[in-house]
Every structure is written in structure tokens, then in C-alpha cells.
Amino acid sequence: MTSSLANLFARRDLVRELTRSEIRSDSADSSVGVLWWLVDPLLMMAIYSLLVVGILGKGTSVGAPYPLFVLCALTPWKQLTVAVGRCTRLLRAKESLIKSVPFPTIALPLSVVGSSFAYFLAAFAVLTVAAMSWPGLSHEGRLLPLMQLPFLMAFQLAAVTGLALATACFGVLVRDLSNVMTYFLRAAFYLTPALYPAERMHAELVARAGEVTGERLFWLYMANPFASLLTGYRDALLFGRFLEARFWLALALSSLVLLAFGWAVYQHYDRRVIKFL
């Protein structure tokens, strides 16, 4: 049974059951369960805040309290690393299942993305409440920009799905991918405006490479869907403004291209991958 859209739709029950079982077994796995998804970004936030604000004495010019600023990046980033990290080993781990039951295997990576997204939503809800009730933020209680959140999340889901589908396939074909992925994601984290604002990178690039080349490099930098995504979350939650139209365009294009790429890779390798397991 191939992983075509028709088969996937016919077996949507399976995707739902798998996602549910992922969520349940995650919470059965540890004593604090779902809370871990809140605790982990908070701990990372504490570490980065201590490093940047406490030791390096920076982070005062980002326009918002630095811990909240970082948390806006860490929460969605965790969904990416968890989904992609688990997908690299996923098909190999489910080898005997794939070889004994006919089902569209794409349900496996999709359920991993789905369950990590559910946790992301829970963590993000807490972040939203914190940002809205934090005194003295520049959003001044404006609620209208929060309307952007569902759209930002939809593009996040698209980008993560695309990347997860591709890594699920490549994880089978390239044996060392899970090791490489750790470093790739770490490097990508620093290349994404997570610990600093995107404008900072813009100013830096223009200052070093000149007006024209700097501007071009900046667009290359923004081709990373998470660059505009994190900027958008901060605009909506912390600054109470709307993400610039050009960044929306960059986000939509890059995340949809990533989704199409991942989908195409999965469709291409779908049944072939089985022989490599």
C-alpha cells in the first residue's frame, strides 16, 4: 500500500490512533509526563538568559525581556528537533512492522509530527498567557496581532512536516544521518534568529558586505522558514505588531517548498526504502 494522498485519507484513522498513542506513551514514559515539554524550554531559557544577559551582559536591546524573547524561539524549535530527531530512526525502528502489515508508512512520520505539534501547542499556550500578562511589554495588550498565530503555526507545521518526511527517508538510506543531524540542527539553531533578533543579522551583513551584497545575503538568510517564523511569533506575542509582508512571503514560500520537497522525497522512496531496511 503506497503512501499516496488517497491511501492516506482512507487510513486517516491510523494517523489519528498513532498520534494518540504517541502522546499517551510519551506521558506514560516519565513521571512528569507532558510537563516535560514546558520544563525543557524553560530550562533552556534559563541557561541562555544566564549566558547572554548574566555573563555576556547582552540582550538588553532586543526590545523585550530576554527570557521571553528566547522562549518564543525555543518552543517552536523544540518541535522541530523532536520531530526531525525521531524521524531519522523511525522507519528503521519500525522495520518488522512495515514488513508485515500493509499500511501507508507515511502515517508513522506524520504521527510523530502530529504528537510533537500537540505538545508544542500546549507549551505555546503557556507562553502566550505569560507574554500577555507580563507587565510593561510593548504590545500594550493589543490582541489583534495574535490573529497571526494560527497562520504562523500552519506554516511551521508545513515546514516541520516537509523536513520530517525527508529525514525519515534519508535516515534509512544514509546510516549515519542521526549523528549528522544533531550537528546540523545545532548549527541551524545559531543561524536562525533564536538568540538574537533578525534585524541584528541584517545590520551585521550590511555593515560587513555592503548595502547590495548584504541585502542579498540577508534574503538568503531569511530563506530559512524558521527565520521569519520566529520573527513572526515575537511580533505577535511581544511587540503587538504584524509581521512585515515580505517576511510573510518568505515564510509561505520557504515552508511550502519544504513541504513539497519532503512529500516528493517520501513518495519517491516510499516503497523502495523497504528494501534497505
Binding site: 490512533e17 499517551r24 512492522l97
Partner: protein, 255 residues
């Protein structure tokens, strides 16, 4: 008979499946330096080739052959788990496999949750499952443990649970790779009779087995595979006799 006019349930046309032999594709460092190339395409091993087969409702197929003849690969093609690399394979109807039972279990979840999950893997509709849940649990004889996590189950208990779910629904096409009987003696008898009931009600069955006597009494047709190719196909009696004659008596025959 209307059977000959209706489209066949299984229609394999010149099917071939190959595997790449990984180890032989690798080059030693010396070879890389000498031959100045880093990679050569690994040789192909055709697990199946040129298999053409038409099966209609009401038939049952025994698949025999030596180890590595391609029997299991053919099962994977019939179950649409593997797509053929050449030729075409059309399978019309709901296929159920009874191999690798319980591989979809999530050990951290309860038996009840796993019934739901495994049923979703096997494409058992939710409405049917709700109606059959009690029967599945009763058949597995695990009423007292059904809300405990499956990780606390013994191997036999897991097998009973998987078997109960896998055989809960009547499929159109049933693929068996080595007929199985699970659990203890009592449960084995129960599962055997359930398999026989499934076999008698399925429209089409394909069975891989080395128990020739079982195949003789169950199957109408037989396919003899030899190194991935069809050696003979025809009525079960005739083919199985020929296979039996060549393969010799079973190793542990009663004296």
C-alpha cells in the same frame, strides 16, 4: 461459472523484485586508490522474476519451494507491502496478513489501547471495532489484564492479543506465511480452528508452508518457486506430489 468472467482478485504480470547486495558494492581502500572510483553499483539479486499469476475468488494457493526461493517476497507482493520492480501487480480487495503478529504494539500502552492501535494498522473500521471489542478481549482470555500496559505481558499473552485482533475481521484475501498456532496448547487448538474458519470464509487465500499435508487438504492450486522463478503452477495435488517427490521426506518423519 461466473468466476471466469469477473476480474481476477490477484493479477500478477511478469513480476520481478530485486534486492541490492550491499556488501559486494563496497570497495576496499586499496581498490578505491587503484581504480580511482569510490562506488560501483552493487549487484542485483532477483528474489522474484517473471512471475505471472492470476487468482480468482474461491481459489486457494499453496506456495512451496526451498529456502530463499522467493516465497516470502511473493507474500509481500501479494500483501502490497513490496511493489514489484518490473511487471505489474494488481490486487483487488482487502488483504490481511497473519505474519509478524503484534509488531505494531506500543508496549507502554494498555492492552485495550493496543487493540485500538493494532486494529487501525489492520484497517479494521472504528465502528466494527467498537462492536467487536468485547469479543476480541474475550477470545484473547486477557480480561483481567486488558488495562495493564502490554510491557507487563508475557510473550504468549502478547501473541494471544495480537492473534485475537488480527483474526477479528473477515478479509477478502488472506496471506499466511507459515501457518501459526500461538499460545499454550488450549489456545493453539482455539487459534487453529479460528484460522480454519478464516480460510473457509476468505475469497482467496495464499499460504506459504512446509506442511505439505496441511496444504494438500486446504488448497486448490499450488505454485512451486525455484530461485525466484515459477517452476510449476497447477492443481494442488499434482504440484505438491512433484514437490514432495523432489524435496524428499520431512526430516523428522515418524518412524
Amino acid at each position: 461459472m461466473t468466476d471466469d468472467e469477473s476480474p481476477p482478485l490477484v493479477d500478477l504480470c511478469d513480476v520481478g523484485v530485486f534486492f541490492r547486495m550491499h556488501a559486494r558494492g563496497k570497495l576496499s581502500f586499496r581498490q578505491i586508490v587503484k581504480q580511482r572510483r569510490f562506488w560501483r553499483p552493487p549487484p542485483l539479486l532477483w528474489a522474484l522474476r517473471g512471475v505471472t499469476l492470476e487468482l480468482r475468488a474461491g481459489q486457494s494457493l499453496a506456495i512451496v519451494g526451498h529456502n530463499g526461493a522467493g516465497k516470502s517476497t511473493l507474500c509481500l507482493v501479494l500483501a502490497q507491502i513490496l511493489c514489484p520492480d518490473e511487471g505489474t501487480a494488481a490486487v483487488r480487495g482487502q488483504v490481511a496478513t497473519l505474519f509478524g503478529l503484534g509488531r505494531g504494539f506500543n508496549p507502554e500502552l494498555s492492552g485495550r489501547d493496543n487493540i485500538r492501535l493494532y486494529a487501525a494498522f489492520l484497517a479494521i473500521p472504528r465502528s466494527d471495532l467498537a462492536a467487536r471489542m468485547a469479543e476480541i478481549i474475550a477470545f484473547s482470555e486477557l480480561e483481567d489484564f486488558i488495562d495493564e500496559p502490554v510491557s507487563t505481558y508475557s510473550t504468549g499473552m502478547r501473541a494471544r492479543l495480537a492473534f485475537s485482533v488480527a483474526t477479528a475481521l473477515q478479509p477478502e484475501i488472506l496471506v499466511l506465511d507459515e501457518v501459526l498456532a500461538v499460545g499454550d496448547r488450549a489456545f493453539q487448538r482455539k487459534s487453529e480452528s479460528r484460522i480454519r474458519a478464516l480460510i473457509s470464509k476468505s475469497q482467496l487465500i495464499a499460504i506459504v508452508s512446509h506442511q505439505i499435508d496441511f496444504l494438500r487438504e486446504t488448497c486448490t492450486h499450488a505454485l512451486w518457486l525455484d530461485h525466484g522463478r515459477v517452476r510449476a503452477f497447477g492443481g494442488a495435488g499434482e504440484i505438491l506430489d512433484a514437490y514432495d517427490a523432489e524435496a524428499g521426506p520431512p526430516a523428522l518423519s515418524a518412524t
